[in-house]
């Protein structure tokens, strides 16, 4: 159960569908460089429901085939430079979505259902470009009530970072329950944590309420400050200067390579 980031990254194979969380939910930045070093490409990323730094870096490293997402950006630091460049060059295939459609696809997988219905979407160009989404006439209405069906999203791998896990592989996700949804839907789940605690997190009702049980977790690795330069809820704030530094550096492919080649992988 206990592993380390490099060992976990080795299980990522070319062509896998990889789910990654939104920037404030717990991004495992500690896994980014090991994944890039490992080098498995043609990845189909699923951003839950939006992407940022990690997605931009995986795209910049040339590992990404498609991006299913509701948005990719660096937040206050502006657009995601490698993503934007890849879009312009046609180097990644886009599956532009809307946040609740990503959630709906994961819920379908969580429930073992082939699809989930979702209101909205009709008349958007998102729908026009998604041939995997389907409009049907609501069978429970009297006709003339179109509704979109979102197919189940079943990632091969989900990767995220949270404050703690116990020795049994139970992972504390607190109120960030989209992390549980991702895990339920996924075949393999890799988690990095700030710390491993001795007590069983399921043994106490208070901590148990925020636990993703080991049942859904493939491996856990300790990675202090593992979300950096993103912040981690309840632990540390984002390092906006570092994110801005990346945003500036990665405007060009060369600048991106230079940034990624730097030894500094953790905060000083």
């Amino acid at each position: 159960m206990l592993s380390e980031p490099r060992a976990m990254a080795k299980h990522i194979e070319p062509g896998m569908r990889v789910a990654l969380p939104v920037d404030y939910a717990g991004v495992s930045m500690a896994m980014t460089r090991p994944i890039i070093e490992h080098g498995a490409g043609d990845l189909d990323l699923v951003c839950v429901p939006t992407g940022g730094l990690q997605v931009d870096q995986l795209i910049g490293a040339g590992l990404v085939r498609t991006v299913e997402t509701s948005a990719v950006s660096l937040g206050e630091a502006g657009g995601a430079p490698r993503f934007n460049a890849a879009v312009k060059e046609g180097a990644v295939r886009l599956k532009d979505a809307t946040c609740p459609a990503i959630h709906a696809g994961l819920v379908a997988a969580q429930k073992g259902s082939p699809f989930m219905p979702l209101r909205g979407l009709i008349g958007t160009d998102l729908l026009r470009h998604r041939d995997d989404w389907r409009v049907i006439d609501n069978p429970l209405a009297d006709g003339g009530d179109p509704i979109v069906l979102i197919p189940a999203i079943k990632p091969d791998v989900t990767i995220f970072h949270v404050p703690m896990a116990d020795r049994f592989g139970n992972v504390w996700i607190g109120r960030r329950r989209e992390l549980a949804a991702m895990a339920y839907a996924s075949h393999t789940v890799f988690v990095t944590v700030e710390r491993i605690v001795e007590e069983n997190l399921l043994a106490d009702e208070m901590s148990a309420a925020g636990v993703l049980p080991a049942l859904y977790v493939t491996a856990v690795a300790r990675a202090p400050k593992g979300a950096w330069p993103y912040g981690l809820w309840g632990e540390y704030p984002a390092d906006s200067a570092e994110i801005a530094r990346y945003a500036k550096a990665a405007r060009t492919a060369d600048g991106f390579s230079a940034y990624m080649a730097q030894a500094q992988m953790e905060p000083a």
């Binding site: 939104v22 404030y24 939910a25 839950v48 429901p49 939006t50 997402t69 509701s70 948005a71 990719v72 950006s73 937040g75 206050e76 657009g79 995601a80 993503f83 934007n84 879009v87 312009k88 060059e89 046609g90 295939r93 886009l94 532009d96 979505a97 809307t98 946040c99 609740p100 459609a101 959630h103 819920v107 979702l118 209101r119 909205g120 979407l121 009709i122 008349g123 958007t124 160009d125 998102l126 729908l127 470009h129 003339g144 009530d145 179109p146 509704i147 109120r175 960030r176 329950r177 989209e178 992390l179 549980a180 949804a181 809820w233």
Partner: protein, 252 residues
Amino acid sequence: MADVLPREVLICTIARLLDGVRHVAVGASSPIPAAGAMLLRAMKEADGTVGPRISILGSVEHNFFTNGSAELFDCAGQGRIDAFFLGGGQIDGLGNVNLVGTGDYPRSSVRWPGSFGSAYLYFVVPRVILFREEHTPRVFVEKVDFISAPGVSPEGVFRSGGPVALLTGKGLFRFDKTRPGFELESVHPGHDLAEIKQATGFQFAHDAEPRQTQLPDRPTLDLLRGRVFDELAETYPEFAAQMRRELGAVDA
């Protein structure tokens, strides 16, 4: 009233547009909408009534959610969110919003982050306020290059929400979904109809001499500059500080 800052006009206008809502959700980097909602709450509480619940996405202080990032959308789908704000790289005269990019999709010449939750929330939140300070023909176009979320839907399409107003740095428009289209409701101080026409790429209805946007009275302004900026500073410290610097410059 020369001492009212342009952004104070926007904030007070938003407070007016939100009057009556029970629950308003605000994006993580939307200090002006948040300030408008906080001002409404402060005004209601000063009147001894109950102000709106304000959910600020990404804020810890104003996060009432415990079910992950899906909860906002679930909550909206349940009809528990009365008002929301949308911006857009492009907005057209039918209220269509483009958050994806310009040029031919998917290889957009300019790519914006993406549609976020707009393609759902625009359909199910009753009072969506389109808000974009930059008022130029680049933003307000005849027809958006990509529809992230449509302003109106054909009959039969489930739609309990949609745009009610468009607020810009120059004026306030109401959205008339029967026509459908925008109607200029008022012009902010320092701007005029001719300027707005030139800056707007779509046709809109208007009076021959549109009235000026209503300015806040003294008690409202005091509430804004006191309690509201204090509250705002907790979530948007830089914005609150900047507003106070600008006010200092005006006073000086």
